[in-house]
Subunit: 456 residues, 4 copies
């Protein structure tokens, strides 16, 4: 921070040469860098500083004097934003924002798929809702559409429950109870969810998610356990999740399949519960229903995703919520089992770790750019993934060249003629100018050719 | 190439000021950049140039004069190697080589696992064999141990057969016949290999690999089909594969399980064969056995892997063998289903696309560094993967920080105290110096902290 | 009854010519016909008659005068017993009794198998216990060994629960909820118990038994429902079953697998319960645990079995408990699915409908002889059937020629020589005396050749 | 035979008092007893006798003199027929024939179901064909409709192949290779046909039938093996089966599923073939296709069924083809697994051992009456059983009270009033006339109440 030229920055923002920086001017500058005016770090730094000074006259624009400005930029993210030194540069962030806006516009007319039917709250969801939010490792946020419409997090809670279990029990213990392989079946198929020993195949299927939660604060009572989960979400998102009690009640009352799986696991002693408590499996199922009923919106969920993209560190608080190792494990399993029964198809088309929930959310993490994208749109495809959500992921990857495997050497290579191939194979001899036969690629040609590829 | 200063380079290599560049000196320089003396491109350029001049006296060191040197550096890879402009820089290549050498030394005493038993040629393999080879997108090669010991390619043929099918039929047609999801079962379990319609779950299991080969040159006769497969391997590796006929015979004679799967697929019309030819399923199985019996070594197989790392372009010839899209698809399926029944575990521990074969080979692709690593060591673990092979992948990823998800933000984050958290949550107020409560990370801190992380 | 010569019978029993029939003499006569002194019909008839007369002097043998005797033989079963006109004749009953006694003696040293381990009451069962009881359609009883030792009925409750559901709902409704085919799996395998729609395969597996009980008195409250089941058992057995509350508690507390299955069925709407009651599946499981905990002994359970052998009519009361159609359906499913995973093996070896429970009981019905045999011996084989229980069935069938398919034409047939066969085929001609070639069986030769075959 | 009064019989048939018995008169007498004029035993005895005498004048009715008659009745079946001493008495046979004729008439308009589609010969079968044949243990035959229309035996060969394997290898060896339990799946489902060790579940599913045939004459060459099978059929039926070569070719060319199963079994070493012969599994499949293509008609197949009903003794030759033990085992497995996926349903509705084939045949054995009934009608239900075939079985069982479990005690039993029940339970006391409370059944009331019940 020592090198940050506070005075120079003050002057460059004091465009009126009034020896003050207008608050609106500062906020606009931050907004262009991706920091929202209601970013908790911005709010705190600016508000507290202004509150500490003399009160402003009503109706007058607020401003910061030199000392106040110096106090404000002690907030590191503000200093870095003003220097263009955040996870994504202002120019890139602008480009990304425009791209997402275009994708949003293009997909508004996409109306295929059907809203989940199995409980009233999901069935009643407005199918037209559509929002996208991006959050970077530094808490830069872009939103479009219904990005602050609340929804129950559903299965997108699974990666985070898995992270909590890993943090508390360590990976070897967790994987004594839950496998790490894709199930080859649908997320709730009792015949394929569990292996012959009753062990759930992985933490992203319902059985595995319940087995995971059975490892989260197992010694605490249920209200405390739920509180801990809520706190973890708060720490990731910078603000608390809500709770969709109506969804909870409906899932609890209809969740026979999940209760069934919990009991079957307990029957094989593959659920970490008190064997003497015959209600323990269904209590575990209820804990699971409660966690699925946590209420977020695209913007907040993107912050949770950004925590994973940031190696376990919350974008807003800088707090380490999970170890980098844990975040990596979570992204790995999202990579191969996050999109229900279309996980392999998604890995092919998109190639990035993602998780979807039946409320219509899809949370995708872009590790190289350290950001997460969340889409909310309730219409689901047959696999249970939001139609628009999958489409947003696909478009983003295509438009910005983000597929980790599909732009390798795209600029290279020649079609070799048969003659050339013979020559290469040593059949022809020098003097024929054969070394000039084919055009080798330009050296160092790592620059992608795709127009919109993100230069991060 | 215009900017390449031939004269300057000539002078810098003419260390004896003799107006010649010693051939050995040039080759040593290239070797340090990763190009072997028997690299076909090097051999061709140097040999042909020297052959075109006056013959050398026996026993005298060979040299290149100014014109000859200029002719040699017309070979682009030589020019780029001398400029340090290959996929991996000379310094990094040296670091990588040393690292692999160390891993090789560390794992020589690893003797757990057992050689595959089901056919004599595999059963008779020398369990002590151990070789590692690396090949980059530019054909830079590092070898240690038994890197040129021949082995049958076995299941590591599957990704390439899939690539051929994709190139010839297009992805929609291929995936009409073969799924894209992990099977949730072992690679040859008839109960889980095929879905209820008889469709194999993915191209990495035996059933899927046979269904894939049924789409490769389907209209040609079998000898021609096999020739085409051989040619594709030749194009990737810069030299032809061998053929382990003894293995072929043994697999053919004992391969009832595969013949069974082929017939079951045909019974459900999920194998692209002439329905009137009752021997078609077993012919397809034989085609599969033949492709599994192609003989390579770690070095050559690494070149095939480098073709994928290079987006489908052969490292030695610059020829485009597959489209970048195809190479990407292949890497995707390797990412989630390449390591038999431990694919999810491998995705967690290593995070990179890989494929193993029961002869004891493991081929891993490192897309970011555009290289492939192949290990050959016949002792297998319970999932059928080479024990040392998996260990080499794990060590490489750990030692060089190559896991795509596990070093994100590793340097960031603070443990937030409860007080701090309360403050952040807006409970405390300004004047408490709260902005200094936690140490934000240094801006732009993308530098990994791991000592050996590869700076590519 | 008109033809029954009361006077003649009185005289033949009045061996002392004392114009009385000694009570002990009458009881002995009945005992030889198979009626126990404590048979409720005998007790009632004799006791009431004697009670109605003048009191006997203490220490004096009791007797019946002419009128009293006439009153006693108004009880039809007594009249028929004295005439030798019960389901099994006195001679045959004696032969059968001796045969069973021999089998009992022969099998006392059989100690293979292991007592069920999953709950304490079963685990603690005395493995040496061994009792056999036979009960005919007329309530003739033969007992040997621990025939009155109490045990929980366990899975042998299933056929009777199925009968109750059939009576109350009719077969079409019952089979809308429960299948009729053998499961091909073990009795509690969640992967094979239910078909793809969640429908249990048959009423003899746990899932099917719960689905069956969900159809028994579905509108009543749980205590009433259980009372009705108890009453049905009382009606069959002539006395009430007990209740093993300790077993109930243990099964309830450990019965996660069954609770799991109940929930899975409910999840697919394949359990006849109120969909709004989220505890309904586990209440159904508890109902099932309670019915399994009904306590009987070999003798009483044989009476329940005899009710089936008697086409649904209780042997002691003559009351029709189930229709003949219902009894037939129950015997059918016992025939192919009553002996857990060895049902097919048992059908081969024994060929008669039977059901076993993990407490070590096996109840077999011999329809042609209208009797049931129950064995109690806690050591189980791997399929969960009592080792001695299966052996008793096998021996009985062998010793008395009861297998319905294995003594057909056993006395017939010749080995035809090749010459004979040629002749028969019309190759040879008359005059060769060919009609004498083989000894045709004696006409009407239905008489089995096996020594002990029961002539009933 | 000694007691047979030849002279009396001769006189009773010599109704014209001509001291001869007209041949037509004798044949008519035999026909009424169920023996056809073309019964091989009748033909042989009568023809040979007449041939041995003086030739008849053309156009004159043929007759037997006293000696000739004596010679003819040396054929035991003729003697017994004339005495009314065959498996089914003349009166009963007439009743049965009339009953079947009525069933045939009633079901002619039944046109539901669909002809098997998978190969041309089956697809082209005339769906209107409908024939019923009955054959008793003594070769009494009744036919109606298309009882001599040829069809390929298909799966109805399975019980007989099983019988041959049992005879040649013994049950323990057979069941080392093939299970005895119902599969719980469809007859050709690769996922449920084989257990985890590759062992087929029973001999009635395709996989089990192939495994069975692999045990029939395993050391002979294939032509000899097939000849032995043909001979066995000839021995049962009294005449040779045909061969539907067109069906064989079609099944061989399309039988990928069966070839697949054969290979999968071989892969697990669960097929008794030379492990060094890679074509052995498909040769086994071909052997199976050949046996399925044996051509019979309802009448001949009924004779094969009667061989089972007769404990393994051929009805026409009296030759023992299988041991009674083997015949019993075969009937047992038919009892629980003979009707494909509806075996349990059939056991409930009909309760007798039966086997069906996709050509539209159903062969049912009635052990108590020692006869077999075969229906031929090509339209199949969803389980693959002939619609009319199943219906014929059901009707026969209903009309003649043949269900082994459903008419037990049908005539017995009373509805007990609550008061009565209380009394019985000992609550009320003597003097109330309680012994008259309920009407006990008439003693010995074994007589069924159903009008048409067969009195055999």
């Amino acid at each position: 921070m020592a090198e940050f030229d506070v005075e120079g920055m003050f002057r460059s923002l004091d465009t009126d040469r009034a020896n003050v920086v207008w608050k609106w001017k500062l906020l606009e500058e931050l907004r262009q860098a991706g920091l929202r005016a209601d970013d908790p770090r911005v709010q705190r730094a600016v508000t507290w500083t202004l509150d500490a000074g003399a009160p402003f006259e009503p109706g007058q624009p607020e401003w910061l004097d030199r000392d106040q400005f110096a106090a404000v930029v002690r907030e590191p993210v503000i200093a870095r934003a003003l220097q263009g030194d955040l996870a994504v540069s202002p120019a890139e962030f602008a480009e990304l924002s425009r791209g997402v806006e275009q994708i949003y516009a293009d997909l508004r007319d996409e109306r295929s798929g059907e809203v989940a039917q199995y409980i009233p709250t999901l069935r009643d969801a407005d199918p037209e809702r559509f929002g996208i939010a991006i959050c970077t490792a530094d808490g830069q946020v872009f939103q479009v559409g219904d990005a602050t419409t609340a929804f129950s997090v559903q299965s997108t809670s699974k990666p985070f429950s898995y992270a909590m279990a890993l943090e508390q029990q360590g990976a070897p213990e967790v994987h004594r109870w839950i496998g790490q392989e894709q199930s080859g079946g649908t997320f709730n198929d009792p015949r394929l969810s569990l292996d012959a020993n009753g062990k759930p195949q992985n933490p992203m299927i319902n059985a595995g998610a319940m087995a995971t939660l059975a490892l989260v604060e197992p010694d605490a009572d249920v209200s405390e356990r739920f509180a801990k989960v809520e706190q973890t979400w708060t720490r990731m998102m910078g603000e608390a999740p809500g709770f969709d009690h109506r969804t909870f009640l409906a899932e609890r009352d209809t969740g026979h399949g999940n209760r069934g799986l919990a009991n079957l696991m307990a029957a094989k002693e593959m659920l970490n519960v008190d064997p003497r408590d015959r209600d323990a499996p269904q209590k575990t199922a209820e804990f699971y229903f409660a966690v699925c009923s946590l209420e977020v919106d695209a913007t907040r969920l993107a912050a949770a995703g950004a925590t994973l993209a940031n190696g376990g560190v919350s974008p807003y608080t800088g707090e380490r919520v999970f170890s980098a190792e844990t975040a990596g494990r979570v992204l790995s399993v999202m990579g191969h089992s996050g999109m229900y029964n279309d996980s392999g198809k998604f890995a092919d088309a998109v190639g990035l770790p993602a998780k979807s929930g039946v409320s219509g959310n899809v949370m995708m993490v872009v590790p190289d750019q350290r950001l997460a994208v969340v889409t909310f749109s309730p219409r689901l495809d047959e696999a249970g993934n939001s139609v628009r959500g999958v489409e947003v992921c696909q478009r983003l990857v295509n438009d910005f060249g983000l597929h980790p495997f599909k732009s390798l050497g795209a600029e290279r290579g020649v079609e070799m003629s048969d003659a050339a191939r013979r020559a290469f194979d040593g059949v022809s001899r020098p003097g024929t100018g054969s070394t000039g036969r084919y055009q080798a690629p330009a050296p160092g040609a790592k620059t992608a050719t795709r127009a919109g590829e993100l230069q991060l």
